[in-house]
Symmetry: D2
Subunit: 461 residues, 4 copies
């Protein structure tokens, strides 16, 4: 399974994936290791992952009896190859996780996430960089005690097990974390968990060994951000009931799935509490940030791949209509141009946010992360939609990655907070500039009026 | 299974489904029978079809072995009820099909199609008004000889069998009919069919008894619109190979499906030719027109239902975020307003096109049909998307009809000709007005210059 | 000054100005008088007004000393011609103003307003149908006493004088009428007016004889809608100070203008009060409604004219770029198609609102008027913008009517209430449907669950 | 005339004008001189230019007799101040013009151009950085001989005279340079120029001393890019007739103007030819590039200023409607957020293009310049439009800079080539990637099929 792209190496290879102007702007910020790793990721995705896509889908069982029990074996094969090349756990930045991390900045890993986004979702998994494991590993690395790290972080980092993060609940508006209803209460040496969650990604996977469950341990605490705790629940604990997989536009994303899960009087030992009582909210706050940037960069990779497919479809000699290839019609040329613009603007925005995280931290890049999340997903959806339209019926079916890419991107418009919430936050942050602007304008008007006076003119300000 | 909506009857009921202003504009054009039938359709959809939706989906088999062999029994039960009420084959207008048609205008049936569009796709089927059977019945009624009518039209109109229309081909740009590659050739008393089609809707259905197959019988004819013939192929003829169902996003729409089908040396008797050799293109031209209007009106029903769901979600007391229902946030109120505007504008456009067909014919309404197709689907997609976004994760899954509605609507942007082709046609028709405008403008300029002269002024025209 | 369009008469002429499908939908609602008048308006605009456009603009003085003192004489000439043809005060519907009105419905006059919108703004004035006189005449006709009618309504209806409506104030948010600060108080037999208004249309015109001034006579009234009164102020009353003309983009719309006006201790006799103390708000509520529809229809006429110009520019043989006329490029063809769609949808929406006013009244058409106002102006702006873009530099200058049309349309996005306010109102009205939808949905769910139960299936609702 | 913004200096000042994340991304590319100059430009614009805005407009004559003869004296005062601070001719990059240039990169000057764009158009002129003089100085510096430099470049660089560039012609599609009709022919020792131009910016200015006129000297040359020559025409040469100023949405931009000019048998000496016969096209090609980037950056400054005004209007306590400031309505907060996103994305795109010019040259940044031009102007127009809408009537009049800013931006959608042309070029450049993508995809499919084979599975590719 080898494929050569010819003599391209270094910058020449990289600028096949990122516009030369953007590369010119950011390349100084790449270390030699970062650049080398980026090139390795490009080659791994192009030559190992993408040619295995059809096989992956064929290896997912269509029999309901085994659909959630079999993992396509190609994934485990790819994981071995990636690990052997050092393409493993790249998301964990040494800066934030000195013990276990990889020496990559957010900007550097961002570009790698984009490349991963050019493949099917198992591409990230091949390099042990796929959600929700990534965020969960960060939680264990940052907040777990040694025993928790030994038990769960080590096998997760080795790619031996998978995990789930149980936050979203049915029947409430879960974009507001204070609405959580799952109960987490102490009974002697045990913690008892009762709750009804859904959209628990990965909970269907036969390798899923552990759920991190968010619930309320102190629902009457006046500080609504101290009511929650986070508890480690082994996937096979009695009372953990995976009810059904939720579908995203008809896709169930087996074998991982996004499941409805009921925790029915689940009992775990006290030591399964993460950090401390009442600190659940604090933990999830720390869990996001860079992760959103990675989502964004993957979305850009998805959009770039869609544009590649659009360019190919537009020049497909077999698919001439009315004697012309699509590319000979003016409208599609204009669409191609807009795709290029949308993608390049989106990438610049996310890279600047990633660099801002590196220069300060996730909090310092709050506005930039919010902007990226909203703008990038919108643009990526538009690009993928244009590519679908150019493909006609082929664009919405299983023969291209476009429809499932679109569906996945569409979920990002509400996942981790809906667009509307991010836009309100961003708008309000921006409005905080107003008092200073008023001061400046008042001073300016005063000077202006004085000037007008001096010239004997009447001001209308 | 009965449900009363209270005392609403007549106009009061109708104006729950169509804005009072639109109803005021078109009601004079409804006959008493048309109005009465519309009310019956409303009640049938609301009280019989929609409450059966969950059951329908539960009765579709998830076992690959039987998924394409079992028809949900609720459909056949609903068909009986509809037939008993006279809600049957309403799409066949008596005006165009005096022998077998129903005395409804396109405008009247259009409004009924909208109501059908408020239900799942089996709603139309319940009243024997679902594609592709509708178009196929029109073909048999208009172009079939008596034997063909007895054999195929009668059981189709009785809802005893179903049918497929095999036009689209893999590997070519099928929006241009001259690209068809399927071969239809005479050998003695037989017709031999060879071809590779896909997106053959209904071909997966166990009740599908017949395919109408378009192919080239005279590929070298200088008149590219005389190269094609249409032939009747029994679904069980040797050589008819249903390869796989195509998916729309992740939906396979079992048990009907949209299938890849290979016709491998299929032999049928000469009498299975429709109309005559070389008249296939002429037949498909006649097959469209009103059908597009019906698609559009169903899309509007879909959009109205999505708006209903959006209104409910926005006022859901259980789903307060940050202490407020969604409807207490200004942005969603604005979105609701735009949904209302988009739907009302879309409906007016289609109703005016339907009325134009009634006043002239499909050809006389060419521009109006093209406008409707492009504009309505775009608006409906936007409305459904807003409703999905308000629902968060719930909006893209199997628990609301939104995601599958969106996916279905999305296919209409290329089905029966992509938007781009319709817009080019429409734009070119409009540009034909230019010469007359130039004449008028030149006359006007001449007068203007004379006037300026008379007043001793210099014209800059 | 005569120009023949050839043999076109009746429907053939009308369907050059309104799509045949729309005409087919509404023509039954036109009386023979309405249809005949429409044809006369078309001919008057095309053959009398439009060829006089350049002359009109040339007759507006560019000398600051006379710019606001001279009325282009062509206007008074056209007024005579229009009056002679009975094309006079057509906006006053006999239904609402039995004594003085013309027997035209809102639907009928709406189409005439569209035709007027195809000309420069003096076109409406030529037929004595131009704002703000129209609304002011309605106020006098509906709320004025006999003396007021004799003094002001008669010469206004004769086109002898012009008028202004002084509502908007500087320094407050005037889209909320309760913010008005102008003081109107009684002193003996006199009313004293003090206030600072702006955007008083027509106040610059040498023929402007009267201002209707809205102010607060009872600012402490607990009912905020009883605080205002409306008073008649002769334009030449001492203390009426026209400060400066406001510009719209760079246009001052001389000689009428939109002026900043200070009422500085202006004294008028008691009899100049309209209706009664505290009824100002009630009067302005009655002043709107149909007027908004007329604005909308004029906007559609403006958009149609812009599309005409776009079609001509796209086919201009002198303006080939890269060897092709613009119309030979695919993108412009698509733009033309969208213009056609936008205009036809806009017109249908307004005509349905106009018809709803006829069928009920302005209150019965509240939603439809709001929808029209927001949607039509947006679409018209888009159409004019596309036409401008096709014209390049020529499109933004004084050589086409496009730029000034765009500027005028742009003001309609906030005039008579900004889009945002209309959308909020509309959205809230629509949200009132929610409780009924919830009831219906709950009933439906109950039936569905029963059905599932009966079949031994588990409902996920 | 001094105004302090308090203690802000250095980065703290700069990040009031450019988002901190963008500054973090590009600051390494600023030299100490560049950064220092940027700060000086900020202070000059804020404290000297903007408070003088009302005075400037008041000093423009409204009397037609003197409107094109008087230059507001404030401009010449500001020029002196700017020159004294070294804020002079900053646009001329030393890299490209080693003799006369300033040591600033395009990236550095780009940010300064943005700051200039925050002021009225005389702000650029104050620093001798305004079009069309900038482009003309580049032409003289690059292509002029010593005598031409002494005669014209020196006084232009000193700000003693102004200039015009006469390219666009009436009656032809001038976005295609081969359509030019102006004739430039040799007669003995003289060059005779005959032509009809319009939109000649600056030709109305009393200080305008020279026109650079493009015409055809060899109209039959088979190479359509060798037909043109460029000639220097003194503004006072006999036969140079400035016919009228063209308006942009009602603005005539006096005293500079955009004029219709007829060259009627104008005779100049042979030495007035620039470069050589037949090299006119080559010269204008070299004239663009960086200039477009500067236009873009100024547009961003305009958009930032509009957003400032929007933030102020949204929080204006005097302008509460229905008891709330605008900022307390959700919709405007969302609009503010989108403005922020649009501006930041626009700036990143242009800065990356500017940096690409620095890293390569204008040709190396071809795609990036085209992308910038189209995307930035679109975004800036949207931002200014949102700000106008928030201001209501105030937003379109002379009391804010918004309407004239919008009008100016609107012209950039066709100036230097309409959007459509840039998008076609960009799309075609992007489509050139297709063959390589096909090769890669074919290889990938081959590997995929082999993999499927190996596992006994059937590929559907």
């Amino acid at each position: 399974m080898s494929l050569t792209t010819g003599p391209l190496t270094g910058d020449a290879l990289i600028t096949k994936y990122i516009s030369p102007a953007t590369w010119a702007l950011v390349q100084d910020k790449f270390s030699p290791f970062g650049k080398q790793t980026l090139i390795k990721v490009i080659n791994f995705v192009e030559h190992e992952c993408n040619p295995a896509e059809e096989l992956y889908h064929a290896q997912v069982s269509t029999d309901p009896a085994t659909r959630w029990k079999i993992v396509p074996e190609i994934v485990e094969q790819l994981k071995k190859k990636a690990k052997a090349q050092g393409l493993w756990n790249l998301f964990l930045s040494k800066k934030h996780y000195p013990d276990v991390g990889t020496p990559l900045t957010n900007l550097e890993y961002g570009m790698m996430a984009e490349i991963m986004g050019r493949g099917s979702h198992f591409t990230s998994e091949s390099m042990n960089c796929s959600a929700p494991d990534t965020g969960n590993m960060e939680v264990f690395a940052k907040y777990g005690n040694q025993e928790q790290k030994d038990t769960w972080l080590r096998p997760l980092m080795n790619g031996e097990i998978r995990s789930a993060f149980a936050m979203t609940e049915r029947f409430v508006a879960s974009s507001d974390a204070t609405n959580i209803r799952t109960s987490i209460r102490r009974e002697g040496d045990e913690i008892v968990v009762n709750g009804h969650k859904w959209w628990i990604s990965g909970a269907g996977d036969p390798r899923c060994a552990v759920h991190l469950v968010m619930g309320k341990s102190d629902p009457d605490n006046a500080n609504t951000h101290k009511q929650q705790s986070l508890v480690i629940v082994p996937a096979n604990a009695p009372g953990v009931k995976v009810i059904r997989p939720m579908q995203v536009f008809g896709y169930d994303d087996a074998p991982e799935g996004h499941c409805e899960v009921i925790y029915d009087n689940v009992r775990v030992p006290l030591k399964n509490l993460v950090l401390d009582w009442g600190r659940g909210f604090e933990i999830i706050q720390g869990r996001l940030g860079p992760g959103r940037i990675h989502h964004c960069m993957r979305s850009i990779g998805t959009a770039e791949r869609a544009l590649d497919l659009l360019l190919m479809r537009a020049t497909d000699q077999r698919k001439k209509a009315f004697g012309k290839t699509l590319s000979e019609h003016g409208v599609i040329v204009q669409n191609v141009a807009w795709c290029r613009i949308k993608i390049d603007q989106a990438r610049l925005l996310v890279l600047s946010a990633a660099n801002m995280i590196d220069a300060t931290n996730a909090k310092g890049a709050l506005k930039d992360i919010a902007m990226s999340k909203v703008a990038v997903v919108k643009s990526a959806l538009e690009v993928v939609d244009m590519a679908m339209q150019a493909h006609g019926a082929e664009g919405v079916c299983q023969d291209t990655p476009l429809a499932s890419a679109w569906a996945g991107l569409r979920t990002l418009r509400y996942a981790d907070g809906p667009d509307e919430v991010h836009l309100q936050q961003l708008g309000k942050l921006e409005l905080r500039r107003a008092p200073e602007l008023w001061d400046k304008a008042n001073l300016r008007s005063a000077v202006s009026k004085k000037l007008m006076d001096k010239h004997g003119l009447k001001s209308h300000l």
